[in-house]
Symmetry: C2
Subunit: 188 residues, 2 copies
């Protein structure tokens, strides 16, 4: 597999979807499988992915990503599927490490698993957008998420209806260094 870089470049945050084109369940399953295979601190796997594709429920969850103090994310209503990524209680060793090192390992873990999900989606020709801004209590109520679990991210999933845009990223010498913080990785 030599073209992961191409896939990483292809994956983008899609904010317009073909509302009439459903997502094949086997594609969603492969996205879940990619997430399932991802690594986590102490192998805690502190995640649960709730796929929401029942139309009225999906619209209800989608609406919870809009409004509030900022009018944003209206494209979530277009996406035929939303996926709520839930943070689950981690295991003892992960919790011990997180407490001693003051580092929220489950957030790092869920970032990794979410990346796997979205990369597999891109490999399937599907678009995703990762949303951290939503009505957490509303999502919890809509999906029956219990108290010790926390809905952390909402992903949109569907076929893109927008055009590709060039990515805006810092150049490599601004985000990489060699042998010291202040020695930029040589560009070019």
């Amino acid at each position: 597999m030599h073209d992961f870089l191409t896939l990483a470049a292809t994956r983008r945050s899609v904010r317009a979807y073909d509302a009439d084109r459903p997502v094949e369940p086997e594609k969603t399953r492969r996205c879940l499988e990619a997430a399932r295979l991802s690594p986590s601190a102490c192998n805690a796997q502190p995640w649960r992915f709730i796929v929401v594709d029942e139309p009225a429920l999906k619209d209800r969850v989608a609406a919870l990503t809009s409004g509030g103090i900022l009018p944003m994310n209206h494209f979530t209503r277009q996406a035929p599927v939303v996926v709520v990524v839930v943070q689950e209680p981690a295991n003892l060793t992960s919790n011990f490490g997180a407490a001693v090192k003051r580092k929220a390992f489950p957030l790092l873990d869920i970032g990794i698993a979410t990346a796997h999900f979205c990369l597999q989606a891109a490999a399937e020709g599907l678009g995703t957008c990762i949303l951290g801004w939503f009505d957490e209590r509303g999502v919890r109520a809509a999906l029956g998420i219990p108290g010790r679990s926390r809905p952390l991210l909402v992903l949109t999933l569907g076929y893109p209806a927008d055009a590709e845009r060039p990515k805006k990223r810092k150049p490599i010498e601004k985000i990489a260094a060699r042998n010291a913080y202040a020695s930029p990785w040589p560009s070019g």
Copy 2:
């Protein structure tokens, strides 16, 4: 690109390295490039990757992942390269969202970027291991990391010297659900 699932299955946490086989700099560069392309909340890109391949400095950083109250991670000395992933201050919109939603977006972001790095490494035939347990003050001092930045993860990078093992993961019906938290995704 249809074999991302294969890549996700190939990537594993490598805990034994060929200490005599260096990592080609162009491979490291492509890992950095994959990380650079990854998404982040409000496109903050709150990360810096410090590649440590100067042997004495690398040994010094590697030693900071062992010892303390737990005797672990001795394989880090074998790896010809370690990469310190540094959390950088995020931008205003990301910080605002994180504060309002009580959610540490930069940790999610760094999880995603680290996944990209490790997946590209796997595509190059390289092994990685993601370590969250290390002497943060020691790493900060060794690499001159300033106060507003935080070394969050240490990655080992090198050619594997161990055998593949089957992954231990929860089955899909334990980590995925459909339209309600308590409705397991159908297995099989």
